[in-house]
Symmetry: C2
Subunit: 192 residues, 2 copies
């Protein structure tokens, strides 16, 4: 798949050792559009994009009612955009391997309260308790129950593409190419 | 609106004189998720986000059947994400003012063939015609019909927010705050 090679090389050039940040668009149960930044954890040999999430997150509730998603990467150094659309599934088999690749700080984020729920009071930020101490105690307490493993809410998602589009802004006119599974992933040039 | 001041200042710091690039999530007529980069042209005093588009584009067909959208800005220098969700409407009254602010190169992009339509052949890229000459002739020909104005397909879109969320990754734990119109735009701290 020509697009896969292009995507892999482009991501490597753009991000090097930094987190590969893209945008994941989903549809809410109310049929409204949603998007948020995500960190791409892996691109498999067959072109699946791998992400992690908290199973209690908003995006999980979206994907459980509408599994379609599009992941967008804007690569400013290359002036190149990739759009990768398809369906997302939960991939429990990859949890052990992906967990092991996460930094301790990232692992810690999975031991917090449910994402998106209201904090008790916004003034919590400025109360007398040292927030670093309180947070550390809370994480350590949760981790002690699961000394060498991940919490139940740690989930791995796989986006299986059915349509990929690249847009290269370094040419004039811009170069826009679409690849679709139903066309055997052959490149088709479209107008930008 | 506290979020509006924060957004304006953050965008100014992050982008300075460079284009303010965000990601716009929409829902297709087939109820699938879509996203793509967009350039933010303006933020009005009442918090509307202003974009331009070709009225023949994919995003216009999406928004004409489902006007919901979410615009996401990832500001790497500030390690800050903004999500701005709401409804998008076409804003013909702003076309003259926004067109005048576009660079000639950006104006030229609105005189091309319908975006997303197939080019005749992908080998067009390497044929004997100098593409710069051909493109220039085509744009000049179209412009001569509209010497000092914009083409019919030039559209201005306004996203009127009903929910805004900021996520600050510089703190530990991360600081996530949501503002919604129905709550009078008051900040509510939520768990990251």
């Amino acid at each position: 798949m020509e697009w896969l090679k292009h995507l892999r090389v482009s991501l490597a050039i753009e991000f090097a050792d930094r987190p590969m940040i893209g945008l994941l668009a989903t549809v809410s149960p109310d049929h409204t559009a949603a998007g948020r930044c995500v960190v791409l954890r892996d691109v498999t040999e067959d072109g699946q994009l791998v992400f992690t999430t908290d199973s209690r997150s908003e995006k999980m509730s979206h994907l459980s009612t509408n599994s379609s998603a599009e992941c967008v990467f804007w690569l400013p150094t290359l002036r190149l955009q990739f759009r990768i659309a398809g369906k997302v599934s939960i991939d429990p088999a990859r949890r052990v391997a992906i967990w092991a690749k996460l930094s301790p700080a990232t692992q810690d984020t999975f031991f917090g309260p449910p994402p998106g729920t209201r904090k008790d009071e916004i003034t919590d930020f400025t109360d007398d308790t040292d927030p670093e101490t309180a947070k550390s105690q809370s994480v350590q307490s949760a981790k002690s129950l699961l000394p060498s493993s991940f919490p139940a809410q740690f989930a791995v998602l796989g986006l299986t593409p059915d349509r990929v589009e690249s847009l290269d802004l370094t040419t004039d006119p811009h170069t826009r190419v679409v690849f679709s599974q139903k066309s055997g992933w052959q490149p088709v040039a479209i107008n930008p």
